[in-house]
């Protein structure tokens, strides 16, 4: 007999009942269980879609821990995701700081004087959102230029020229005929962010 267990209730007839579990686990009275399960990602949480084929003796327990279970409780997933994101943010921040320190040395070797206004704007920009660290270079004028490139021809180069202005060049994803939108201009932080959204480039730049 097929059953679907949700929380501490039991439902018969799996096909007619949605079998969505939020990280809850179950076990049978005799300590065994049999699950055929599928997974899919539902951002930001993992949800388990579980198709059950279990004996009648199964009793569902809410928040019952099963060792090596292929799913976990929703709050555990949330907590793990939060920790992972925090680690990524911290690593990202360290990567930016390390690169800036390297650039200070290289700038001297290359005879470039870093523009303090550009540096200030760059820091303001990375504080304004969770920005992915990719390439960070200097221009000959000593401005910071951050670059991101995607796998389908997407390209973003943002040069922080000071005065809260960004000179940008953005190429959108290539379409089926290999063409793409190419934008070259300068604008405020908000204008740049709007354009990133419009060209569907936000995934490239934000964590």
């Amino acid at each position: 007999m097929s059953q679907t267990a949700i929380g501490n209730q039991q439902y018969s007839d799996l096909e007619s009942e949605p079998s969505v579990f939020f990280g809850r686990s179950m076990e049978s009275r005799d300590g065994t269980y049999s699950l055929d399960n599928e997974w899919w990602r539902h951002t930001p949480l993992l949800r388990a879609k579980i198709t059950l084929s279990v004996p009648e003796s199964v009793i569902a327990y809410e928040e019952f821990a099963i060792k090596n279970a292929p799913f976990r409780l929703i709050h555990e997933l949330k907590e793990e995701k939060r920790r992972e994101e925090e680690e990524i943010r911290a690593e990202n921040k360290i990567a930016f700081m390390k690169r800036i320190e390297n650039l200070r040395g290289f700038a001297v070797e290359d005879g470039v004087e870093i523009n303090p206004e550009s540096e200030k704007d760059f820091f303001d920009f990375i504080k304004s959102g969770e920005i992915k660290k990719k390439a960070l270079v200097l221009t000959e004028e000593g401005n910071f230029e951050a670059i991101w490139r995607g796998e389908d021809g997407e390209y973003i180069a943002l040069e922080f020229v000071g005065g809260n202005i960004i000179k940008y060049i953005m190429f959108s994803k290539r379409s089926s005929d290999s063409s793409r939108v190419q934008e070259v201009n300068s604008g405020s932080f908000d204008e740049v962010k709007d354009l990133l959204f419009e060209l569907e480039l936000t995934n490239l730049i934000y964590l």
């Binding site: 690169r99 290289f106 070797e109 004028e141 670059i147 190419q182 070259v184």
Partner: protein
């Protein structure tokens, strides 16, 4: 005199300091003409006649070092000439880009060696002349270049 165009299958390199490169990306500014420049300076690798690319780049480094203070943490951006020419086919680009061989004689007084492989990417606008086009073309050049790490080359060969 007829300009000495470099064959499309051949390659040119351009020196880039370490401040302008990270993670395989180059500041597009390094591919923009500065005021007063007629073209972007590059070196034609095949002209040097060495068998390996590394040997060609080492020779470019040796010759350029006689006139410029090159950083060993720097890079040589390598571009295929045909790909450079193709940028003119982009419907948004309004300039005819050409790669011309322009060897430089030695300057014995300054101790600068003759640069037989010197060439220029010509037909580019400067930022002052046409900022949008200069940025767009630089973005395209950046996209087609491959980077050669001078540090690893210098460690083994120079």
């Amino acid at each position: 005199m007829k300009p000495d165009k470099i064959p499309s299958r051949d390659h040119v390199v351009r020196y880039i300091g370490p401040s302008f490169v990270e993670a395989g990306e180059v500041s597009r500014v390094k591919f923009q003409l500065r005021k007063g420049e007629s073209g972007l300076s590059v070196n034609w690798l095949e002209k040097l006649g060495f068998e390996s690319k590394d040997d060609c780049i080492n020779e470019v480094y040796r010759v350029m070092s006689s006139g410029y203070d090159l950083n060993k943490n720097g890079w040589f951006a390598e571009l295929q000439v045909g790909s450079i020419r193709e940028i003119s086919n982009n419907t948004k680009v309004n300039y005819d880009i050409e790669v011309i061989h322009k060897p430089k004689p030695a300057d014995e007084k300054e101790g600068v060696l003759a640069n037989i492989s010197h060439a220029e990417i010509e037909g580019l606008p400067t930022i002052n002349d046409d900022e949008e086009q200069a940025e767009l073309i630089a973005g395209e050049l950046v996209e087609i270049c491959a980077l050669n790490d001078l540090h690893s080359l210098s460690h083994h060969h120079i």
